[in-house]
Amino acid sequence: MSEPQRAKAPDAGEQAKVGVYICYCGGNISDHVDVEKVRERMETVPGVAVARTNMFMCSDPGQELIMEDLRQGRINRVVVASCAPSLHESTFRSAIARAGGNPYQYEHANIREQVSWVHHGQAATDKASRLIAAATGKARTLTPLEPLRVTARRHAVVIGGGIAGMRAALDLADMGVRVALVEKTPYLGGGVSRLVRLAPTGEDAAHLVTTLARRILEHPGITVHAGSAVTTFGGYVGNFTLGVSPVPGACAPAGETWPGGYVPGKGVLVPPSPDGGAITLETGVVVLATGFASYIPRPGEYGFGENAEVVTLPDLIQKIGGLEGQRGGTLVIDGRPIRSMALIHCVGSRQIPGIHEEDANGHLNEHCSRVCCTSAINTANAIREACPQTSVYELYRDIRTYGRGQEELYAKASGNRVVFMRFGADQAPVVQRGAPGSGHPLKVTVTDQLTFGEELEVPVDLVVLATGMEPGPVADLVEMLKLPVGADRFLLETHPKLRPVELPIAGIFLAGTCQAPMDAGETCNAASAAAVKAVSLLSKGYVELDPFVAEVDVRRCTGTGACVQACLNPGAIALETMDIDGRPVTRARVTPALCLGCGACVAVCPENAIDINGWTLAQYEAMVDMIVSDAVCQDSGAVPETVGA
């Protein structure tokens, strides 16, 4: 494991000259906070060298104000008072860096989300003043920090061998990154290999999977560990260590051929991992491409499990395949003619609390599964075109053929005389046994919104449930890698727009349906996007990390070891023997790349010898002092009421 290095020694001791910059935010702040008054007040705060305002501090001219003051040597610490730091802290840090300052000699005061949008009048102006004063209190004691540099292995582990994993692996390997692809089953292909023709463009799923898998297997930069799973995980960005072990029982049934042979419904068979037993992978980045699980209807849901004639859409697709030999007549499944069939949408998707029943674990799938409408319509078209004697009914809530070519598919289905019926979320269709003598084993009744709310009865031979996507079974990885999970139980990205394929854990990326339902094209886009982030991260050969880690003042440290005991990430801090003033002593020492920066050690040190860089206890105390101080504004003494409950 490589040791992270500080690029430059901190340069402290210079007299603090704080520049305070207050943003109007185009009225967002200035409509409620008297910005000019606050600026006047800030000019009186000790340590403040300049105080300025701007309509949009984040704009180029706003940033230029700061940069110019830094360049002129008027200031050496910066406080910007504007919106939430999540939005623009990094903007201002990089402006400081561009002006030659240290980006960590910066403190942000949040006077929009936490002042102007929640308080009004004098109280808002006063609170803004105190918050900014507190920020200057902290800023005065900020020391320059340098990001930690960690050498990064030019290697990636991709977990999951579906199209997302294969796409990401190929992209990475083509960029000269060595890739280990870990797949639980003996097959490459994942969810796509369970399909036949992909909507709306009609590609052959087997062909797509085979094309990708062959390139994966032939690529000298990619090693496939099929039938294997990640069992241990450690390290940090640039230097992760993963233990990979064979999954017991994950081997292909006899008769299936490899390598490169395509097994319908399963994918391309891959030889077992060359190493056989458990191995350790050392890698720079990890791409998660663990895919999704198909929703299994509850027993009795639309008659599922109670009637053999009720099946799921994935099952139907498997059963009918390419509809070979079915041309011209009535669809036949398992020897049974299907003269009439109903496809019910949104099974296991778009569930609504109070209407739908939670599963045994109390979960509801409130999300839309995105692909089922198009998939159902695609299947209906295939059947109507091959078997015109088979009537197809689609019972839906909203038709979500959103993508390119999908609306056309829906129009085609109408032209193919697929009959669409629309039901309300609270008026689910009812599947029952057909009346004796009706000639059909089942009947579906639905209150059809398209037929003016009339109740319609459809005799059918088959009911198909368009089941949605659920999060895949990745509880073990979530636990091991400490992955964030959203309310929908899919893996949760840092921000859907700013960082859509990234996680708060640096060096781990999301690709495909482990994040949310997606179709094949969207999955490959997500995988390539994950790959580009990984490649960018690895392109320099090192990774820069936040410098907010614990640092021991060895002069104060007495080697009690309390910090070591309190540390939450074993190995991040340890007692060591070192020479101080020529004497060997026991002192605590931090491994910065492993330090989480949580501060558990700070609180327990009896000598106050440890602090988190950029978040020191003394800085918090300075902030509290400024908040309670009457120096910038006097309290009116009136008693606030309770509001906004």
Binding site: S391, Y410, A411, S414, R417, D448, T451, E455, L456, V458
Partner: protein, 100 residues
């Protein structure tokens, strides 16, 4: 309970090529129709789509209120030609009357 008969549309096929299958029941025709008559003409198109023959005959006289002005066809987002479907149904109903 309204009966559904997917075979019904076959009886209309000899009368016209436009049988409203393209219709996705958006309701533009009903709202644009100068008659302003409940769900007309979508009502009739919908009954053709699901094959509700009884409902068509029950409401047959309504068909002749249609002005054949073509505004529904002009504004139909799916090119389903509602005007032509109504004309087709007039032909169908006329033939049923003549047979009876």
């Amino acid at each position: 309970m309204t009966g559904v008969n997917p075979e019904f549309v076959k009886r209309l096929e000899p009368l016209s090529a436009d049988l409203g299958s393209a219709c996705f029941n958006c309701g533009t025709c009903a709202a644009i129709c100068p008659l302003i008559s409940e769900h007309f003409p979508r009502k009739m198109i919908r009954y053709v789509q699901i094959g509700a023959q009884d409902r068509i005959m029950e409401n047959a006289r309504e068909l002749w209120r249609c002005l054949h002005c073509g505004l529904c066809t002009q504004t139909c987002p799916r090119g389903a030609n509602p005007g032509e479907v109504i004309l087709t149904l007039k032909r169908y109903v006329t033939s049923v009357w003549r047979k009876s």
